[in-house]
Symmetry: C2
Subunit: 215 residues, 2 copies
């Protein structure tokens, strides 16, 4: 049984988008605005830099009770005592990751469509997974290897297949956040809507309002 | 105290160079020719593929008593029950890796020159490290981020600084293997000299002879 987490407003960091303001300053502002979960994602960074970033974020977030999730790298997550790991379909299998993470850390998995959810295309067993990241809801330039956009209808299609918590991701702004919640998602995950915003705190607050209003 | 290992002839795999023959067939032939240690290195591969490759190599090598080392990814090494990890200067710190690996797994670190060994440029503490990979001895096209070639003289310079086992790496063929051993290395690591050879078994046997003759 993993530690509790709240998918309401899930921030995924992007190293290019936060470069000017800085990773920590961006996350700090976003959390003030109501972000409930933070994922460190920097696919081009080496292990040493990732561990350093994860430790700095953990020091910022732990006192606030906001869990820190590390993208892909289970070793980095454990070394930095992060709260969990988010896996893509090409990453280590959820069962392997769970064995390394122990029962308490949070484990998420990206699914691009109902077929990926069912594991029919990949053979991935999601038994060890605590939540699903479903998308891209809308096409985006942030993630180069993302699949085709599935829309809020795609979120609803995955929602119909599982009782696991799901968070919609991919090109979500305030208007789309409401649609995704109404499609049955437990929350929305955003990258550029917060990382690239002139005021991340304000952007987070606006997204949180949109999610709350749609529930 | 890590499990025993023998640096005499250390094969580092390269996904492009083994593509035609296949990873397992290349390693199997190389081991027949006398390779004493194998490192799985595929910096572009995702975690899932790496775990699968590491498990396949482990199944091949364990019955032969040849340790399997995984480049960079501590999580992959533990998931596949590999015998150790090899770290670059930008990877997770040796101390962090050791904490995840436990005391028995083998931990290697690349050092490009005496300054990197001393940690003066990087602040890396090598206390947790079992062996050092020193090079590139000669310039090579295999590793894009490798530093300047240090020659056998550079190997001797690191040898003078430590009693830890060291293996020379980078552009080593039969003639250079002898020089590196005479410079004080405990063994030689090769990529293309075996992976790109028309007959990996024969190539390994010739390198092994060169190392043995130079001792």
């Amino acid at each position: 049984m993993s530690r509790p987490f709240d998918l309401t407003l899930y921030l995924v960091t992007d190293p290019r988008l936060v470069a000017e303001r800085g990773l920590l300053a961006t996350v700090e502002a976003a959390v003030k605005g109501g972000v409930t979960l933070v994922q460190l994602r920097d696919p081009d960074a080496h292990g040493r830099a990732l561990v350093e970033q994860a430790r700095a974020l953990k020091a910022l977030l732990a006192p606030l009770g906001i869990p820190l999730i590390v993208n892909d790298r289970v070793d980095v997550a454990v070394a930095a005592d992060a709260d969990g790991v988010h896996l893509g379909q090409d990453d280590m299998s959820p069962a392997d990751a769970r064995a390394l993470l122990g029962p308490e850390r949070i484990l998420g998995l990206s699914v691009g469509n109902p077929a990926e959810f069912a594991g029919s295309s990949s053979g991935i067993d999601i038994g060890a997974v605590d939540y699903l990241g479903v998308g891209p809801v809308k096409a985006t330039g942030t993630k180069k290897d993302a699949g085709a956009a599935i829309g809020a209808a795609g979120v609803a299609a995955v929602r119909a297949l599982t009782r696991r918590p799901i968070v919609g991701i991919g090109g979500i702004d305030g208007a789309l956040a409401g649609e995704v919640i109404r499609a049955g998602a437990d929350g929305v995950a955003v990258v550029s809507a917060i990382c690239a915003a002139p005021d991340p705190e304000h952007a987070a607050r606006a997204l949180l309002s949109a999610v709350t209003a749609a529930r």
